[in-house]
Symmetry: C2
């Protein structure tokens, strides 16, 4: 019986994310397209240390599954939450939030966008360094 | 910068799956409940070598993300497909199928059930040893 653990990343790194919506280097590997007949878009996202996306909302909500490194997640008006491998974040439709890596570690998560027939994402303003560095 | 890889499993093993619907030891860790407001149920499933679920369908479809080991996936009337870490399976609503570990390796996948408002799963007959051993 093969019991070897394989500690390589689960997915290839993917394509560079748009600098219009991300601060710092981020890569996205699309896994399931929104039009695949499942109303569910799925991608794997790799953030270098310090990288994060803009504030945004999802019309159909989102689930994040942290798989490697140490990340940040914040909903508007709440403190930044630290994310580690195995953490799952449930984001209800319309909730203003952002996510990314922590300052000293890269971070990888799977991003699941259910109810894709309602739309995928609505981008808002950039997360400032002041907001990003507010973690306590 | 912390670049260490952590090769422990992403999720804890979870609870034993029902022997009514699974052949061989299988564990399920629920990650997102169907009633969490996202119309999307997500669980992590660990199959010991040789274990598999019954034939079944999903009214809202399903996506499998293989994360460890070597697995089997089969749709009715098609050959068994071998699954490795990083493979993604898109299963349309109503498609009769089963999945599980290969004979010589445990297997872990994340199971994503979108459109959960339409129902999660409809179980059918057990996968026989003859069907299971039909991989070429």
């Amino acid at each position: 019986m093969d019991t070897r653990e394989n500690n390589s990343p689960i997915f290839p790194q993917g394509d560079k994310a748009s600098p219009d919506y991300f601060t710092g280097m981020t890569w996205v590997k699309m896994l399931v397209a929104a039009d695949a007949g499942l109303n569910c878009q799925i991608g794997n996202v790799v953030f270098e240390a310090g990288a994060r996306n803009n504030w945004h909302t999802h019309p159909g909500g989102q689930i994040l599954i942290a798989t490697d490194g140490v990340g940040y997640y914040q909903e508007k008006g709440k403190p930044i939450r630290l994310l580690h491998k195995g953490d799952v974040v449930k984001i209800l439709p319309g909730v203003v939030h952002w996510h990314g890596a922590s300052p000293d570690s890269a971070f990888t998560h799977i991003a699941i966008n259910p109810n894709a027939q309602k739309g995928i994402v609505e981008w808002l303003q950039r997360v400032t360094d002041e907001e990003y560095n507010h973690f306590k």
